[in-house]
Amino acid sequence: MSTPVKERQQARVTKDRPLLELENIGKSYGNVNALRGVSLNVRAGEVTCVLGDNGAGKSTLIKIVSGLHDYTDGVMRLNGIERRFNSPRVAQAAGIATVYQDLALAPLMSVWRNFFLGNEIHKGLLRTLDIDTMKEIAGSELEKMGIVIPDLDRPVGSLSGGQRQCIAIARAIYFGAKVIILDEPTAALGVKQSGVVLKYIVKARDAGLGVIFITHNPHHAYLVGNHFIVLKLGRVVLDAHRDELTLDQLTGEMAGGQELAELSHELRTADPSKVVEPHTVEHGGVPAPELSQDEIVVAGTDAKEDA
């Protein structure tokens, strides 16, 4: 327990030097250049937002940093030392934790098993799992972050999306991550749940971690970000500190600036109040499937049972 705290304090001291530096990183799959000349600095106690549309190269970038892929060009430095991660385990050992949107936790496993997956605590000669300690730690760590899960034996699959993200974030923080990468943590969440996750991003930042927040939502990014990188077609098109940027600029840049202007022009010419006459839509002559009387009755009773 004492080591991570010490490291965090050290991280605060060296706030000016980036924890993680990417310099002209490139990644090509055969003849496809997924990523070209991407430079990025992650500082302790800062949230670095990486924005971009679908296919902009965000996923490739995080896969390189989290050790799922190797890079083909450029240099990645962690604490000033050049590094290559050939597996997620190596990246984790180096203090880089990744919270994936969809593949963070095993749904059928209980909360405490997921929390300690890959970092199990054991005791005694036979290296038996210390279940009581693990449950206690998982419970108190989650409570610290404001998530209350009364039954830690519940499978993670039965929790809400926001709770799952928060468990994954709490886990990364507890296991001494120095850099935490969040892959679209708010993409599948409602407004309130997104707010909860954003609060944890701030908590992680305040704990002295370097946070990389991947998103395609500029509103969420602007709420918590210190530094913004916008990717497009595998290149960095914007690299700006919060002071140099307004939300509108960020949104514009993210949506592609000029492209957005053209799109809004195009949409403006289409009269939104106009309604297409039904008969102008050509019907294929295929009737919609009809339900038999039985099916309708069954559907009705089912609904009653559920209620």
Binding site: S66, T98, L105, A106, L108, M109, L117, L129, V148, D151
Partner: protein, 345 residues
């Protein structure tokens, strides 16, 4: 502070009653099934009520059960092994042929068989990893390969379809004592595999629920990508699980060899499905990530009771497989039903 947080927290989730927790266990369907089958045959088969029948039933169950608990472990880890039935025969034949052909001490053959069995498992796992094919296909391939090897090599070595007897060779007596003894416990005769079955069930259940490796097994079966992302060695875990079924094939194969003095090269076909049935009756999901070692052992017990019960009751033994099929579907339905009820509680 903590209790206050609990109150203001999410009040939609209440703690579950012990009954709901019991009913939510994966093995509960198998337990219900075991009680039902026992009751059925206690009522209809007079010989079943005899105390000495316990030893016979346990023996029947154990030769399936040793394998079934390892197969259950593998299935919880998200994979299948269709080569287990013939792998048992391969193991027995390896020990018999190498001892006889090379004139080794029997123990030399036994150890060689262990190496071969573990290698087959490791190779299955390795092939799965390298090709990325479903384990169903990979092990279906090794099933046919091993079946052919069993027949062909036996023909080459002995010119027949069964291994030559190695009874008169050095080490036979001590190896037989280890793998195929009978201990009398009052009226009940306990054979070696019964003891092995109980021991491996206990060890595997402990490994699955109380060790780091068990946590990894659940994780690689439930969501291999998530497991890899948090640093679980997915490939090593899966190869280890396949080597586990190889080890079980060796245990059973050695018993068969020393119990019956020789091994028929065509033996073991179809048993792989009985192991899988026992595991599924015991609550394993075909999709991985969920299941019970104890449940698989109970599943094997159901098989043993059914096999003997049908003949004790004087019914036609030809119906055994039909009965098993009905049991399989029934147990899965009971498992699903009970699980849904327990979750809703």
């Amino acid at each position: 502070m903590a209790s206050a947080a609990h109150v203001v927290g999410d009040d939609r989730v209440q703690t579950r009653s012990p009954l709901a927790i019991f009913l939510g266990m994966p093995a509960v369907g198998a337990l219900i099934g075991a009680v039902a089958v026992a009751a059925l045959f206690l009522a209809f088969a007079p010989a079943f009520r005899n105390v000495s029948a316990i030893g016979t039933i346990a023996y029947q169950a154990s030769t399936i059960g040793i394998m079934a608990v390892f197969v259950a472990m593998l299935m919880i880890g998200g994979e299948f092994d269709l080569s287990t039935g013939v792998a048992v025969t391969t193991s027995g034949l390896t020990a018999a042929h190498t001892s006889w052909y090379l004139g080794l001490n029997v123990w030399g053959g036994v150890l060689l068989a262990l190496v071969v069995s573990l290698s087959i498992g490791a190779f299955n796992g390795f092939l799965l990893h390298k090709t990325g094919l479903p384990s169903f296909l990979v092990t279906l391939g090794s099933y046919f390969v091993l079946q052919g090897i069993n027949l062909a090599v036996t023909r080459i070595v002995t010119g027949g379809v069964s291994s030559n007897t190695i009874r008169d060779m050095d080490g036979w007596d001590s190896a037989k004592a280890v793998f195929a003894s009978t201990y009398q416990l009052g009226p009940v005769a306990i054979k070696t595999p019964v003891i092995i079955w109980v021991v491996v069930t206990a060890i595997l259940a402990w490994v699955l629920l109380r060790t780091k490796v068990g946590n990894w097994v659940f994780a690689v079966g439930g969501d291999a990508k998530a497991a890899r992302a948090v640093g679980v060695p997915v490939v090593a875990t899966k190869i280890g699980l396949f080597m586990g079924t190889g080890f079980a094939a060796w245990l059973v194969g050695m018993h068969m060899l020393f119990e019956y003095n020789n091994v028929q090269s065509g033996q073991g076909l179809g048993n792989e499905f009985i192991y899988i049935i026992a595991a599924v009756i015991g609550g394993c999901l075909l999709t991985g990530g969920y299941g019970s070692i104890l449940g698989a052992a109970v599943g094997a017990l159901i098989y043993g009771m059914t096999q003997l019960g049908i003949s004790y009751a004087g019914w036609d033994v030809d119906w055994l497989k039909t009965f098993l099929g009905v049991m399989l579907i029934g147990a899965v339905l009971v498992n699903m039903y009970v699980k849904r009820k327990a979750d809703a509680r």
